[in-house]
Subunit: 538 residues, 2 copies
């Protein structure tokens, strides 16, 4: 049996941008669209060009290679021609493959929000789709409030969908804008829409999570015949969020109820990247990943000490609904470190460090890593710090230099002219080959001043770190309140294009930053030696 294709449409950069607390810069949007494109989604909706300067700037170029790059906007206003509507003009000027128009399909909203007649709204839909097609774009129409509209006036909701298709739209997307529709209702209404002559092959679903059923509503719609799903990474979105693509995709690919009938653009191999995709996205948002997230959460395959654990070790399929590797996640049995040791050996091997299973330095290293992770270190996101720690245990890392002391000072006062002024300064004392060097620097803040002072004079190593750059600096407070523990993650890069991440943890943000800065410099010096084949000679 040939499988039917389900198209995946990502709206992280548009509906996701409506999440309270989330605001993407152009750089964020570029990074996220690249992640989505590489993962294999069919459509990447980038935003609403013309509505704000960020989105307009983002659409000055096409940002995807494989995925259809999509611009979102409203249908033209009633009473003006398509060519005289400034919103539509901005949309047509945006560099996109596809234009997704949002159109009212609930007559009540046509009256209250648009203040035009039902017929004028249909004419707007038709003229907007025409204009997009004339400009060489694929057109689609998001029917806002479709389900509520259908309950109130089915004929009019259907007329909106039909008008869009007749004008040449590739897709008509049924939106549960307020998010209150139940799966049984979605299934029933989609069935009626298809029975009314609108082909499922042209239908999409856009669900919100206001009753915790955005995923179920999307799947119910697919089961009832729609062939496109709109959703977001990690389910961000207005109010309670949109349908979570990170949850939906593994279900579509792995669960027989769907996998036997449908295929998506995501291969089994690509699916193994979904845990990483989800975590990288949270990292970019600088928020803690949800440990209980389906498929990709740190706890999704975790079993706590108890009746399940021993059975799980003997026969994983007894307590796992899918194998964790299929989604790039891993089993976590919290009662025993047996799985842990094998993981460690594999992680070390990946870095060129071979350790026999019975080497007892390995047990000591595992114990230290567990202890430090309990304190807040996150080695999963700090490869270079993990490698340094391991090499310190298993081989030796040379003490290239030693920081004898540092001092950071931030002073804020009114200057002679009565203007507020804040000055940050750092002083560092370093020993290199027995010689003490003292450096001082000003910076934008205490960490920046410390970083500059630390890298100002490392004697014979100075040339080697000249190309070291801080690419990113992230701070997370691990527990709130006054006893807060701070975790700092630093990403560094050099002229070869290499990137590495280091971590520091302390109740003092300066201390945590210092640890991560030090690890970064030492890692760079170590790598230089390794590349030059000098490690043995040290």
């Amino acid at each position: 049996m040939t499988k039917e294709r389900i198209y995946l449409y990502d709206t992280t950069l548009r509906d996701g941008q409506q999440t309270p607390g989330i605001d993407f810069s152009v750089e964020d949007k570029i990074a996220i669209s690249a992640m989505l494109d590489a993962f294999g989604l069919d459509y990447v909706e980038g935003g609403y060009p013309g509505a704000n300067p960020t989105d307009t700037a983002f659409f000055t170029e096409k940002r995807t290679a494989r995925a259809r790059f999509t611009a979102f906007g409203m249908t033209k206003r009633a009473g003006v021609s398509a060519s005289n509507d400034p919103g539509l003009t901005a949309l047509l000027q945006a560099k996109s493959d596809t234009i997704c128009f949002v159109a009212k399909s609930w007559d009540y909203h046509v009256r209250v929000a648009l203040g035009c007649t039902n017929e004028e709204n249909l004419a707007s839909i038709s003229a907007s789709v025409d204009a997009a097609r004339a400009a060489g774009r694929e057109a689609m129409v998001d029917c806002e409030h479709f389900f509520d509209g259908f309950k109130a006036n089915a004929d009019y909701a259907l007329a909106c969908a039909r008008t869009a298709l007749e004008a040449g739209a590739r897709w008509v997307v049924l939106c549960d804008t307020n998010g209150g529709t139940q799966p049984v209702e979605v299934r029933e209404i989609v069935g009626k829409v298809i029975a009314a002559g609108i082909p499922g092959a042209n239908l999409g679903i856009h669900a919100h999570d206001d009753t915790g059923q955005a995923v179920a509503n999307s799947l119910a719609a697919v089961d009832a015949g729609v062939r496109q799903i709109q959703g977001t990474l990690n389910g961000i979105g207005e109010r309670c969020g949109n349908a979570n693509l990170v949850t939906l995709i593994p279900t579509l690919v792995l669960k027989p109820a769907f996998a036997e009938r449908f295929e998506t653009g995501i291969s089994a191999e690509a699916l193994e990247g979904i845990s990483r995709l989800s975590r990288n996205f949270d990292e970019l948002l600088n928020r803690a990943p949800d440990a209980q997230a389906p498929y990709v959460g740190a706890s999704a395959f975790a079993t706590k000490a108890g009746i399940h654990a021993s059975a799980l070790i003997k026969e994983p399929q007894t307590y796992e609904h899918v194998p964790p590797e299929t989604v790039g996640n891993r089993r976590k049995v919290m009662v025993s470190d047996q799985g842990g040791k094998a993981n460690f050996i594999a992680e070390l091997k990946r870095r060129g460090i071979d350790v026999p299973k019975d080497d007892n330095r390995l047990d000591a290293l595992i114990a230290v890593v567990k202890e430090r992770e309990a304190e807040g270190y996150a080695y999963e996101g700090a490869d270079a710090s993990f490698e340094l720690l391991a090499r310190r245990f298993l081989h030796t890392v040379p003490e290239f230099f030693r920081v004898n002391s540092f001092r950071c000072m931030v002073e804020r006062r009114y200057d002679a002219n009565g203007a507020l002024k804040t000055v940050s300064e750092a002083i560092v004392k370093v020993s290199v080959d027995g010689e003490e060097k003292m450096s001082v620097a000003e910076g934008h803040g205490p960490v920046n001043a410390l970083d500059i002072a630390l890298r100002k004079d490392l004697g014979k190593f100075q040339n080697e770190i000249a190309d070291l750059e801080l690419a990113d600096y992230k701070v997370r407070i691990l527990n709130g309140g006054t006893e807060a523990i701070t975790r700092v993650l630093i990403e560094s890069l050099d002229a070869t294009g290499a990137r590495w991440s280091t971590v520091g943890v302390s109740d003092n943000i300066i201390d945590a930053s210092f640890q991560a800065l030090m690890d970064s410099i030492i890692y760079k010096l170590m790598k230089n030696r390794e590349m030059a084949g000098l490690v043995a000679a040290e």
Copy 2:
């Protein structure tokens, strides 16, 4: 038409206890069972007496007044009589109204995990239910892996259910233990179970969220005929969690698809307490509530988009699937650069600030908010800073005190014994009523030291801020690299239980923290005056 009763069964204290990172003390369990009982749940499962000292201690008394207090445990082992099974004995000694036995119903698990015959397992179910009934308890049986078991061997899964009922169990609960079953499958299998002669009135559903559909699976089961739902507060539970009762209950009570057919023990009035219940539970777990949680999250009725906001203010039902008051939540029109003038007026009104639409200070305020948000301020997460900014524009905020200067210092060095030591110190100079005061403090880091020094001596205001506490401190780096801009969000609370959030932005983390700390103190002083009716007198 008389409505059918749905029974709500809470397993927060048992399956919820399996959540990685969550461990309840006896005191926690007492507090939580009181919350659940007061809210109106039908069953409160308290734990597994005999399995660990906490649960055994918790079951030395009956802990609920209205709800049926339920003890969980395994059916008796094969090969011993009920009276010789120590696990069963502990269960019968526990002070409970109901005993919930977990029984294997997948023949594969009977073989692999129990190592007994199918018939011996049925005999254990029967004997265990008998023993509970003989001890005067209501009995119920959780059929573990029921759906996977039914797919593998429907006859045996049904035999387990039937055996439990024939022995006199009030309920047989169909458990999706591994959490991978899809709603379509739940619906189909429940239908077959009822068709096989097991009455829906005796059936319950126990769903896990491994595909993000625990709520949908529970509702599909109800629709197909079961009359009891097991779940937890805020969806905690093993791996991805259990069905979230906080999401399920409003849907059952408010959504016509269910409310027209069913009733629960939760009245419309009690339902208004559900947001508080959810937040109090997170408070007890000491974790930040999920802002996007359906019905009860801080963002569940929040609107950021300008186009939605004006319609929302005119006619809330246009963009709300249920009225927020019905679940004790509230509408939130976000102040953000996406929102329009209507947002602003509504937000100001909510804070008791009335501004006419044509007041041109309003336009100036909107311009300043937009400019500051472009710099990185996030007023939607910092209510108190927004209110202060607005009041400064529209009325006046007294200058209670003035910070003339501050200095923070962090020093790290080796002490006389060669141990590393980091010291953080801050000095603050403040003018109150023309008198300069100088305070110095040490802290865990520079921000902590600054906070302590700042609040050490504010002269006549000192008593007023004695109960001010930092509840949370968050840092976000808005753009990576060395030119990073830092945003600090601070949540404060006082003895009245009031909480407020303030924001600071700067390229210097100390400066950003200082702004947020200052806003917090000034907001508190302003609120004190407002409550005392003194604003006019200032």
